[in-house]
């Protein structure tokens, strides 16, 4: 997907993913976007191969006594797109803070 076709909202979600935010509502919280926007956008990004999703390791979930969650990771193509999106939307970096360890 060309960066020109990436909407500001999608670029924001991709930026959050590039900063290591991995889960659906983590992205909702950090971007301030509603769930009705975030989840379909994640599906579209995954279809366009800018993002890939996987289940978190079972051992990790068992250790914290919680169900396994689907997490999203930006792909190499996604990183290229987010770089050009940051050039196109210079304020993008300001909207999404770095993730604290």
């Amino acid at each position: 997907m060309a960066a020109q076709r990436l909407s500001h909202t999608t670029a924001l979600i991709l930026k959050a993913l590039s900063l290591n935010y991995r889960f659906g509502f983590e992205i909702m919280e950090v971007t301030g976007l509603p769930s009705g926007t975030v989840y379909p956008a994640l599906r579209r990004l995954e279809r366009d191969k800018l993002v890939q999703s996987d289940w978190e390791p079972e051992a990790e979930a068992i250790e914290h006594a919680r169900p396994m969650r689907r997490y999203y990771q930006i792909t190499k193509a996604g990183k290229t797109v987010v770089l050009s999106a940051t050039e196109r939307y210079p304020l993008l970096a300001r909207f999404v803070p770095e993730k604290q360890a």
């Binding site: 009705g36 919680r66 396994m68 689907r70």
Partner: protein, 271 residues
């Protein structure tokens, strides 16, 4: 199998999941349910950084996610199919009738106008079809003989497109000339057949190209064109573009340059 949660979800969440999951295609349903159960569970049990946020915030996302999967499955199932092509042409046909209907003022007057021009349509259509078949149609070699049913289906599809394209071209030519027919009847009479022939020739050229670029088994548009070989290989090996059927029925090899041993495209069916 969907693993059980450490603690059950509230009744409202479970009811919504149960209801909405019906939208999700069967193959993806277990994964979708597992994903949303986990999301809702975490929303209930992990503290949010935003005050006042609840699991209800996730409900629009849950519904839109299921709707997205539903529409995407329909899109994937219909994309490039013969049915979609016919439906699109039928929609264009209806769209082309609207200006004529507006100009005529009533259905009866429109019918009269079409009947009055019917002989002109038939003459032009026969002429354009003959010329197009003589100049535009290409043969596709089949590596193994194709069975009768798919070939018959392909011919029916080609004929349906031909009729629709010719009718659309004729209606559009009337759309373009009827507005000034009362002021300049002679000019309109001269221009209308010319517009019709021009648009019909373009339409039929598209029809043949479209037919060539479809799977010979399911009539779906072929995808992922790949260049095989290079021009310098033309006399030694292969220099062509290969297109694949998404459903895996075979591939079409289209030569870049026509040679005495390779004049037409070749359909290679999957065994």
């Amino acid at each position: 199998m969907i693993p059980s949660l450490p603690s059950p979800l509230p009744v409202l969440d479970r009811a919504l999941l149960h209801l909405v999951c019906r939208l999700v295609p069967l193959a993806e349903r277990p994964d979708w349910l597992r994903c949303w159960q986990a999301e809702l569970w975490h929303r209930h049990h992990l503290r949010s950084t935003e005050p006042g946020s609840t699991a209800i915030d996730l409900y629009p996302g849950l519904v839109r996610d299921a709707l997205w999967l539903y529409t995407e499955s329909i899109h994937m199932a219909l994309e490039g199919t013969a049915l979609l092509c016919i439906e699109l042409l039928a929609a264009i046909l209806l769209f082309a009738i609207v200006p004529l209907f507006a100009l005529s003022g009533s259905g009866h007057a429109l019918l009269g106008l079409l009947m009055f021009n019917a002989d002109r349509f038939l003459c032009g259509a026969v002429l354009v079809t003959l010329v197009s078949f003589a100049t535009g149609s290409r043969t596709v070699e089949h590596e193994s003989p194709a069975s009768l049913a798919p070939r018959f289906r392909a011919q029916i599809f080609l004929a349906a497109k031909l009729v629709l394209v010719l009718t659309i071209a004729f209606l559009l030519s009337l759309d373009l000339t009827q507005p000034f027919h009362t002021a300049h009847p002679f000019t309109a009479e001269i221009l209308q057949p010319q517009f019709f022939v021009f648009m019909a020739l373009l339409g039929l050229r598209w029809n043949f190209q479209d037919q060539d670029n479809r799977c010979k088994h399911c009539l779906r548009e072929l995808a992922t064109p790949e260049q095989v070989g290079r021009p310098s290989w033309n006399f030694l090996y292969s220099n062509s573009t290969e297109l694949l059927c998404k459903d895996g029925h075979g591939l079409l090899s289209v030569p870049e340059i026509e040679t005495s041993w390779r004049q037409s495209s070749r359909w290679i069916a999957s065994s």
